[in-house]
Amino acid sequence: MRRQRRSVKFLCLLFTFVLLAAACSDDDKSDTSAGSSAAPSGEQKKGGTLLLAAEQWPDCLNPITQCANASWMHWAVANHVLPRLMELDEEGNFRPSPVLAGEPTLSGEGTDNGTGAFTLVYEISPDAVWDDGSQMTADDVIHTWNAYLKTTGSISTAGYDKIEKIEGSNNGKTVTITFTQPYADWQDLFGGNSAYIYQKSKLSGEDTKDDMNQSYGFSGGPFVLDSFDATQAVFSPNTAYWDSDRTPFVDKVIIIPKTDTDTELNAVKAGEVFGIYPQAAPGFKEQVAQDNLTLAFAPGVSYEAIYMLQAPESNKESVFNDKVVREAFMYAVDRDAILTQIIHPDFPEVELLQCGVWVPTVGEWCDQSLWADVTPDPEKVTSLLEGDGWAKGADGIYAKAGKRLSFKWTVNAGNARREAIQALIIPKLQDQGIEAVPDNTDADTLFQTRLPQRQLEVGTYINTASPDPSVTTILHCNQIPTPENSFSGQNSVGWCNQEATALMDESDRTPDPVKRLDLIRQIGKLLREDAVLLPMYQLPNVTIVRNDKVDGPVTLYTPAAYSAFGNIYDWSLK
């Protein structure tokens, strides 16, 4: 009895201590507000440390090699440090970046001033400097051009290989780029969606394979990258940055990886990070319903599709080399079920994407009739496959000439939405005689190694539609990464259609939007005829921020191609 009383007393004391400890400890567990100065109402405070989480973490930072395949390499690091010539605003429109003194001028063939070679002239701002104070000049642009062309494993040479010469004048502040032919997607060179310019004096040479993998060593953006490792990326303001509109409010930004969706959500709910940019996942709207969280949704420029790689390096004899199999697969996948069961519970407004590699919110390039006929149709699947010589085996899976209709389906592990899609669709495929085996891997391995090397058969991932409709970088015959070309190029799906390639070349040298629209639509039709991919939906972008921690236009960039973190120079702490 005495021991029991003692035990009860001990438990009571322990409970009291816990309550006291909880009540007395500071709610803000980090000193991220330290140094913030008071400011009049309506003004944003200066100082402090901004903490953000990244859903995927890049393994390397080089924007010229296949490291650039990982969107989060740009969103978490490169966008804040590296300058561009042309950039995208929050609505996806091209505009001159602060590096430029104004709009560039175009002349020559294909323009209103239509004589001579297609020529582009940029005026670099006299204030535009690198973080070491040296001027940004044409030399940097020329070196960048050579780097994209000559780096081993360059992510893309498309467009750069259409430049005949680049000349500098006016102390290097005027950059004249002469093309071998009109090039419509000029805005994505040296900028745009995922390209930048680099400081020539800080790179080892024109082959940048070994440069910029774990750090940059220079900056031309609002921030300087102080450090990068597996646990965090730390930025501080670039004191040499000349654009006062983009001078950061905070003293430091730290971006940390939270690659597990639940942990990421719990971290922002707990206030351990102040903002996240998660991919939409089933059920998370309910998880983040609390007063101090602001959720922003917007149709982005990203779309998710199921890609059927042709003759991938991992399996040259893939069943998807057969166009009939690709066609049958498209009719076997129940996109309606994906939408209603996985996407609509949180985003009821999302519709099926029927136009392939464009999105209806960017220009008029998207032809929503292309995949409109693709509805779940088991009878059509049967007739296509059996008409092609496939027959069901004893295990219920189609086979032909000893080869079973079986493939590996890869998504990035930990992505709740994609794994839910696999879980939903794989049994349905099985019922129709098609065997899909999950072969998932972490995001940086998938996007920075396996996809560039075409080491998968079927993948589900996001691509981003540029404001420019050119698809040369992702679908041209000479952009297929192979061991022979050191895995250079982004046509990971391996589609090579000579007619489509010719149309891509023609559309790239056709600045006239009306003529170009017709060419793009023809490419879309060929894409559909060859059953290269199965588009699913335009993914809504989601930003979640702690409204009691951060201030400023924190959700402005939710629809942007640069992610919600695209304007963190404008974020401040409360």
């Binding site: 909880a22 494993g153 394979k209 993998n213 730290i254 940390i256 719990n266 351990e272 560039p452 050191s486």
Partner: protein
């Protein structure tokens, strides 16, 4: 005792050598170092790398070279051309901290619960402890970890306005090193690791104590008038601890590489996450020293367990 320890250490050498051969063969046969070293390289560059990494030499020669370098602490360079040891060292330190904290929690709670359960056999406490033990044994660590995040961080914050716990990481980003900040960050993952350990150790301790409590020498001690508390603490506990302590020494060795799930859930950059990342990237230069460190720790702690057994039980002659 000293002779025994020396003899065991000498016997460990062939065990380590055999383990190193198995590790080397397993890792080399499942990775393609030249291809992973430079996946975007041209064929001639890959050939150059083959020579640089001595991959064109016979397997035995590669093994001997690797073992010699390993013994001298030269673990080579990663695919990104960075030294292996700094990251491996940092991962090891984090896992050791997490493992140590988890072990302290496991031993403290597990032994206490086991002793009380044995003393109060068939009481309500014993029944409750048994039920909770089964719960602890059956609950998956990843589920338990997420539940702890929700309850002790989010719900706690809702109820009390604050919480001493964190959902992930080893430090606040504005802090570094080992201190109070790291301690409170590691508490939740340590509890996650400890939950199954507490269940196991409480059952072990209970069983061991029950064996001892009914011994003749304890009956003699009570007959001599020694207080029950002294009987339990000075006489019963020490003997009951023998199997538990030796088991826990082996357990510690296994902790070095065995916290993968917890580290993943709580985003802790420890040995488990290190191995997963290296395995996915095919970084054989990282996998090899990792596996050897795990092997060495298991061997070392097995030795410690044997030595402890001899220290705790004088009836056992280590010779």
């Amino acid at each position: 005792m000293v002779l025994y320890a020396v003899r065991r250490l000498l016997w460990s050498i062939p065990v380590i050598l055999i383990a190193s051969i198995l590790v080397f063969v397993a890792v080399r046969s499942t990775t393609n170092p030249a291809a992973q070293r430079c996946p975007t390289c041209r064929a001639e560059d890959q050939q150059r790398l083959v020579k640089e990494l001595n991959l064109d030499e016979p397997a035995t020669s590669q093994y001997v070279t690797w073992l010699g370098n390993f013994a001298q602490g030269d673990f080579g360079k990663t695919l990104r051309n960075t030294e292996v040891w700094p990251d491996l060292r940092d991962s090891m330190i984090v896992t050791l901290q997490l493992g140590a904290l988890a072990w302290i929690i496991t031993i403290s709670f597990g032994l206490t619960i086991g002793v009380i359960s044995a003393i109060k056999q068939y009481s309500w406490f014993d029944s409750l402890a048994t039920g909770v033990s089964f719960f602890g044994l059956s609950i998956p660590p990843f589920f338990f970890g997420l539940m702890l995040q929700i309850i002790l961080v989010l719900k706690f914050r809702d109820w009390f306005g604050t919480t001493p716990f964190f959902t992930s990481g080893v430090n606040n980003s504005t802090s570094s090193g080992l201190g109070y900040d790291r301690l409170v960050h590691l508490l939740l993952p340590a509890f996650t690791v400890a939950v199954q350990g507490i269940a196991v150790y409480s059952r072990y301790m209970r069983s061991s104590m029950l064996d001892v409590l009914n011994s003749d020498y304890l009956r003699t001690a009570r007959a001599k008038g020694i207080s029950e508390r002294r009987v339990i603490v000075r006489h019963a506990l020490r003997n009951a601890l023998i199997p538990v302590v030796t088991y826990s020494a082996i357990d510690i060795g296994a902790l070095i590489g065995g916290l993968v799930v917890t580290e993943q859930i709580f985003q802790i950059p420890g040995m488990g996450v290190y191995f997963l990342q290296a395995f996915r990237d095919g970084e054989y230069v990282k996998i090899l020293p990792w596996m050897m460190i795990v092997v060495l720790s298991v061997i070392l702690f097995n030795l410690i367990a044997d030595l402890l057994y001899g220290i705790l039980d004088p009836r056992i002659r280590l010779d």
